[in-house]
Symmetry: D2
Subunit: 367 residues, 4 copies
């Protein structure tokens, strides 16, 4: 299956930027998990554009759960969430249809779908599809939280500015999940927003690095070949538009160390439980969780939609052209993508946990 991921718990996404609706089908999740509509709305709100550093497109992101929930809880059957597209201005896109936006999927979509693709606003490739992913991910995040598994992401770097590192895992996660612009150090966040606004003023865009922390994941989850925990997470994370790199623990930084520096020594805590004194491997050894927090970083490239004139090709007419974008575009998406990263991680972990402990493990106690 293609636009789906997961084996025991799975997600299927559908919808185009300017179609009638977006949606997600979340299947295999245990019965009895509260479907917290306020929380779903909260997560969608975190994904929505906001203020001077985001696109002017506004969507209420009203969502409707049309199946798989009954009396406020998951039923265990496929849960479908629909999100209507309200504020679409398709006329913005028709004229420039064949002017391939550099860094975008216009050209590859045309190659793959032979011109039958819905090209308006990026169609099925639009970041807007992540709204459905976030709504479904919210249910997964609820399921994990009830089992003591917490997930949160911050903007570790953006426009040359670095946030501080995670210090107080659970506290940091709680704080981040309330912030529209997820940084641990507000001063760093202010500097990031300034850089973004400056790029926007120049008709340009910036990228960044997201770092996700997962607390409370049981040890022993993942497979040696090929369904390593890293492989499963990376597979899904690369679907987030603009993600071009994924690393675990110190990731690329590890490649510059010596083994004596990179290895995480094991030790016993006062209760006799095994832990690692450092966590350079990001909570995974041999593809399997070791009980330490997962640390995951995603490289988010600068938004490809910029207002500066760009060289390109009109692929229908077969001639070179200059692209001058109009419409509504984000000068950065790293701050909006972080809730997508949380959602993707939650989905993948629900699947891995359901495979490991059975389909009921994440669910309710029975009515």
């Amino acid at each position: 299956m293609k636009n789906s991921i997961g084996s025991s718990v799975s997600l299927t996404l559908f919808g185009e930027s300017h179609g009638a609706m977006l949606g997600a089908v979340l299947d295999g999740l245990a019965p009895g998990i509260p479907v917290e509509t306020d929380y779903i709305a909260h997560q969608l709100e975190l994904r929505r554009p906001a203020g001077r550093i985001s696109t002017a497109r506004r969507e209420a992101d009203a969502f409707q759960i049309v199946s798989g929930a009954f009396e406020g809880k998951t039923t265990g059957t496929p849960l479908c969430i629909l999100i209507p597209n309200a504020d679409t201005r398709s006329r913005d896109y028709a004229a420039t249809r064949a002017l391939a936006r550099p860094g975008h999927a216009d050209y590859t979509a045309w190659l793959k779908y032979h011109g039958y693709e819905d090209y308006r606003g990026g169609g099925h490739f639009s970041g807007r599809v992540t709204a459905a992913l976030v709504a479904a991910g919210a249910v997964c995040l609820t399921a994990l939280r009830r089992r003591g598994i917490l997930i949160g992401s911050h903007i570790a770097r953006c426009g040359g500015v670095a946030d501080r590192e995670f210090e107080d895992g659970a506290g940091d996660i709680a704080a981040l999940n309330e912030k529209a612009f997820a940084v641990l150090d507000e001063a760093a966040g202010e500097r990031m927003r300034t850089v973004i606004a400056q790029a926007a003023a120049e008709g340009d865009s910036v990228g960044g690095v997201l770092e996700t922390l997962v607390l409370g994941l049981p040890a022993g989850v993942g497979e040696p070949w090929f369904d390593t925990l890293e492989g499963l997470l990376a597979h899904a994370l690369f679907s987030i538009p603009a993600v071009k790199g994924v690393e675990f623990g110190d990731g690329f930084g590890l490649s510059a160390l010596r083994g004596s520096q990179a290895n995480d020594a094991f030790a016993l805590d006062p209760e006799g439980r095994i832990f690692t004194k450092t966590n350079r491997n990001g909570g995974v050894n041999g593809g399997i969780s070791n009980g330490s927090p997962l640390r995951i970083r995603c490289a988010v490239k600068p938004t490809p939609s910029i207002y500066k004139p760009q060289e390109t090709v009109d692929f229908l007419r077969g001639q070179e052209a200059v692209l001058q974008l109009r419409g509504r575009h984000d000068p950065a998406i790293v701050h909006r993508a972080r809730v997508v990263a949380d959602s993707v991680c939650a989905l993948v972990l629900c699947d891995a946990l359901a495979l490991r402990y059975g389909t009921d493990w994440l669910g309710g106690e029975g009515t």
Copy 2:
């Protein structure tokens, strides 16, 4: 499925470091592809330890193809390659069984398999299992080469030394595929080997970065969600032991650029064909190949098996301990892992191409 990957073309790995045999079942590959035993042996030779910078363990890596090949060609039915384990010294490992090697899977394997795992020499987690992967990957590499798709990797960085970048794609790939230590700049390679030997002398190890180039891949391969080309490749690449990060194009480097720098402008070549003037996105837009070369980088951590004393825990006795490794270990594996990276990429691309163009596309013309 767990120790398998791929949907139309798939690979299943089995075997333990000190068991009777390792092996791979390669299924779904088209009929009529030459099974070049010399080339398989060549690829296995590239993976084998060599000289002062590798483990003293020596394996002839004799392999036997027991199914799926007939009269020198693939039949289209599952191809099974067996590699016997000859030079095993299990007594090296029994004593230290419960002393979890930091950075290794000993502890997570024990958590997952409850003590039933074959712990000798890393068991199923051993890098030795990649011999079977390389043998199967060689058949995939042959299949791709016949279609004009070339794959090669070099050690882009190791121990603080950088190799030169790819300049002449096909020529560079041809040269690399003959080298035991795959660098484009021999002087850089000599410095890398010096750093590795120095670390070895200190009982330590080093990591590095592998860069893989793929030429000739048709445009239009991959899916928007979730089977992006990046996601599919990363899923498999994270199975290579010690890989902790994967990036495409400029990857994490892109996250520090502006959109005007990161976007690859489209242009027309003299024959009117569309190409990108730069390739910072590594040949993939929106999860789909755009016709430019794929550029993939993997972060390889330093070998966790080092001779320096390390703090750890005996997980059976529940007490802290100092681990003093003996046995035969690599001070670096980045130079051995590169042929594994080639093999993994070949496997994933065969699968994606078979899905796109059908099961016969990679095969022969019929007898």
Copy 3:
């Protein structure tokens, strides 16, 4: 994945009998296939209850395609079809919630979902979910028809009455696809309807046997182990509510023959093409299509919802009870299930063909 089927072309179903909507996501289908809304409506009409031999529940089966179609053709991205539930009378079901209807899924659903299931009207187990399957199947049937592959089913047996056998494949299929009660021999059909009406008058129900014919399927499709064409079709066909047996060719009848009777002799037609003189194996040898028509039969048990009093158990109170069903129920569903059988076969064959010949094979020529 659970409520999904297919690997290259796949279908995911969602929805409950008395929820807001039912739906299907059809993914992986080639771009450029006409989305014939009239034909979809026609197929839904064939599935709908009609006259004295069907439930009194009436649904307009208005459907909405919210993604994956653009300018009247498939885009190649996931196509989602929604069907709202309009005429629901939930109060019919609440009182008898824990009175397990014999032959139904009430009790097993409760065991599996621990009471969180939406029990109204059979919930996700309701035959009503097949409306979404039929709508998606109509798109698959269109795709196949454009490639010369025709599918049609008739009620081979019902209530002790046998229809005549297929004689003129394409003509018979064309005739059947216009009939609300699909029989080749109208006199036999009239006798069947009489038997059904008689059972209905007694508060009882009848079953039957569906026979599906597939013309024009290319030879060479299917796999030896385990994705045989028979296995793939049967896997999906057993999802049709009430199907309890599936056979190919002469099926169970073959088991009573001698080899010399059961084997289909090969011969050459005047143009020198190979064909089989008989088709007792139903078009499949060794799991792979041989170019002869596929012949598939499904055993459909009598509708379990009957008005006669039945012994059962109240599984919440843990006491025996007598069940006296009210509400609206079909005295037979074999005539409504046949279009579901066509749809399921079309879906499975689209998947098998896309795997064999690539994702574009079923699609358009490009815009």
Copy 4:
């Protein structure tokens, strides 16, 4: 994946009738399950030809477990079983390579694999491949037995003779699993063997019906769409060579009943547990196990390899021909196929149970 089945517990088969080896990779099975080599040998013995009613080909069926077992128990990593081919007479087949045996896969294999297939002795399509399936299935059967789940099959019908029905489930299963010719009524068995021998004397062959009983399966296993327990089992059972029909409970017989006859009434046993007073639905309602025994029947067609002259085509020369088979062939395989049916059911149920209850449920208690 193609020559594989299963999602949490999976099996991959490889090998050709006249290649070096056959084998199976069983992945995902829990660690700590005893690997009973005597029992595996016993099961292989049940599959082997015996006496006047079987092929003269004799194979010792020596098997070797080369991975996934350690100190007599499963490790949880892929378990590979190899079975060498010893007694092959390839010269028997070369001359008749292009003379398509009616009822066999020679012609479809040639269409699918374009002449690259290993055609000797049926190649990968040979019933001999089931030896590997039986060996792997034996490990699954052991795993289930430790959890109180028992599986056994008998020849319900063969050559016009019917065996008696199951009466004492566990006792009948125990008796059957010791018999080379699995009937409950020895007098019926003797008559069956007479019919088989008579057909053999005429150069012909006979088919039959296998009935499998599964006791002790927990209720609540299976999915509504599409991974019904019936669908999962049928998918795999159709891989058994010569199986052309699969039914559950009364199967096709149900289609001739009224609902009041076909429904299984629920009742309470003296301990207050729910059971069904009859079991016409074969232990499955709505695709999910209901706690009653599973009853599965497979139609096995007569062996297509017969000595009587047959009309066929030489597909390389494109001319009609008369086929006069030589070599060693079974006049019936239904008695050999029954242990394959047990193995297939065991595999599918291990997978379904691991999905439902987690990967450790079938395993050991830890070392």
